[in-house]
């Protein structure tokens, strides 16, 4: 007799299980027997959800559309109806599969995403770190404008109006530059 799992090595181990009240006898080789965890044995791989799906259903509990008793007032269980314009992904499908179909999905589900990311990344919802060079320029400029605005506010508070006017001009110049840069990129 050959092993039921690898169908190659000779079967040396017999496993008897109770499945739905029926006795099932299976034969495995030594190697497969060690690899198979008989207490959770499920050889029909179609039935077993992959690790990621399991993780997601564990994280978010039973989806609200399958159990009526879940209070609808809980914002986390609210499922939006819109689908992603680029790939047609729905939020419900994302919760089932745990993966997106295109980068645009992130924009489509912008509202719901922080809830998901928080759970996966220990509370974090915002990226800190490397930024691609091309995006970096406008990103830096935005940061600079923000900082200048703070300075301007301080100058006004301290009644240094001339300084404030100077800073205001700098902010305007940067904003103009940012706008032009954005338009140029948009044309491509």
């Amino acid at each position: 007799m050959i092993c039921e799992n690898c169908k190659q090595r000779p079967a040396t181990i017999t496993v008897t299980q109770m499945k739905n009240g029926k006795k099932v006898t299976r034969h495995f080789c030594d190697v497969c027997n060690k690899q198979l965890d008989h207490f959770h044995l499920n050889l029909d791989s179609d039935e077993s959800p992959n690790a990621m799906q399991k993780l997601f259903s564990n994280l978010f509990g039973t989806p609200s559309w399958s159990v009526q008793s879940v209070p609808i007032s809980n914002p986390q269980t609210k499922v939006p109806n819109e689908s992603c314009p680029q790939c047609g992904m729905t939020y419900r499908k994302f919760l089932e599969e745990g993966k997106f179909n295109c980068p645009t999905c992130y924009g489509t589900f912008k509202e719901q995403l922080p809830q998901v990311l928080k759970r996966l990344h220990n509370g974090a919802t915002e990226h800190i770190g490397k930024v691609p060079g091309s995006i970096n320029e406008s990103y830096q400029m935005k940061r600079q404008i923000e900082a200048l605005r703070q300075d301007m506010k301080l100058a006004v508070d301290e009644e240094r109006f001339e300084d404030a006017a100077n800073i205001r001009d700098q902010v305007r110049a940067l904003e103009k530059k940012l706008q032009i840069g954005g338009e140029e990129k948009g044309e491509h």
Binding site: F100, C102, P103, E126, H127, V131, P132
Partner: protein, 359 residues
């Protein structure tokens, strides 16, 4: 560079164990996940999209200007026989997931095998950099350099609040997974791995088997990596992993010391028996071979077994895997035939080395 170069059983330089902590940390790996804007992710894209992405990435790396002076070789998985794909997985040049994606996947690999770029795996681009020993900074620097070269030429999918956009939200943000492959036989045998794995989870780290997600720890090798990719800059992710790895190294060293103190003869017996198995067995499953090799390595580190060069042990580790074995045999082998062939190859390697060291 043709594919044969990358199928040799000579261990690549990232397997050289003569770096700091080389006896405990076998290698360091950095992976960056990147996607191109305007294309669906590989799980949903069309054949045309796949082809276009493939061309864009390989053009950027190979035909682009010579800013980057490392030459890359390109291989499409579509044209590659299953056995060759398996060998590339066993060499950690590609992931098992990519090996199964024969329709659209490809790989770009540097001659010394320390940099490989997987195209159209789960994400459009996965930059991978491998280094021997514990060298997170160096590995990240190289991966970062490749990333900067690619970002100049390719429209990356990036969002100011979510960072690099990836197929799976577990990679969103930096797209960075840093990992260290550690040989932890003393922590394993003293049953400390379970609590270590739990502690790691609380620190935002994951412990996995040597081929990554969903694989088991073979031969007491564990891959420890960051779980969190969002809300932390790259430098912090790497620093945190570095300090965790250093702590685990100290724990392993402590456990080894305790083993020697409390049960020196029993340990020596067990480890030397493993050497005996490798030298004289006629049937060796991959699991048994991996465990024995782990024991022999520990025996050498503890001074209980006369030195066998790292090169020989590393080659044994590579060649005992099913893909390499069959490639070495030049024919497909049934699992029981493999076990016999594996025993004979390892025997040969160790006996040859043994007569060497006597002289």
């Amino acid at each position: 560079m043709n594919i044969e170069h990358f199928l040799k059983s000579k261990p690549p330089i990232w397997m050289r164990g003569d770096i700091d902590y080389g006896d405990i940390v076998m290698s360091t790996r950095i992976r960056l996940a990147r996607n191109l804007t305007g294309f669906r992710f590989p799980r949903a894209f069309s054949d045309e999209e796949a082809l276009q992405i493939d061309k864009m990435v390989s053009n950027a790396l190979i035909d682009g200007d010579k800013k980057f002076n490392i030459p890359f070789s390109y291989f499409s998985l579509h044209e590659m026989p299953a056995l060759q794909r398996q060998v590339l997985v066993e060499k950690h040049l590609i992931s098992p997931q990519l090996a199964n994606k024969t329709k659209s996947g490809s790989i770009l690999v540097s001659e010394d095998e320390t940099i490989s770029i997987m195209v159209n795996e789960e994400d459009h681009i996965r930059i991978q950099c491998l280094q021997p020993g514990l060298q997170l900074d160096k590995a990240y620097q190289i991966a970062d350099e490749v990333d900067r070269l690619l970002e100049d030429k390719l429209p990356y999918a990036f969002d100011e609040s979510f960072g690099y956009l990836t197929c799976c939200p577990t990679n969103t943000g930096t797209g960075l997974r840093a990992s260290v492959m550690m040989h932890l036989p003393a922590l394993t045998v003293t049953n400390q791995m379970g609590s270590l794995i739990n502690t790691m989870a609380r620190l935002g780290m994951v412990v996995r088997g040597i081929y990554g997600e969903g694989t088991e720890a073979v031969g007491n090798y564990y891959q420890i990596s960051n779980q969190i990719t969002l809300g932390k800059p790259e430098e912090d992710i790497i620093l945190d992993l570095q300090s965790v790895a250093e702590q685990i190294i100290q724990k392993e060293i402590g456990a080894r010391r305790a083993l020697l103190e409390h049960a020196s003869i029993a340990v020596s017996d067990r480890l030397n028996r493993s050497l005996g198995v490798l030298k004289y067995a006629r049937i060796l499953s991959s699991e048994e071979a991996a465990n024995c090799l782990s024991n022999v390595r520990l025996g050498i580190d503890l001074g209980l077994i006369p030195t066998i060069p790292d090169r020989v042990l590393n080659e044994c580790m590579l060649i005992m895997q099913p893909g390499f074995l069959q490639q070495h045999a030049g024919t497909t082998l049934q699992p029981n035939e493999r076990d016999v062939y594996r025993a004979s190859i390892i025997r040969e390697q160790l006996q040859f080395n043994n007569s060497d060291s006597k002289q």
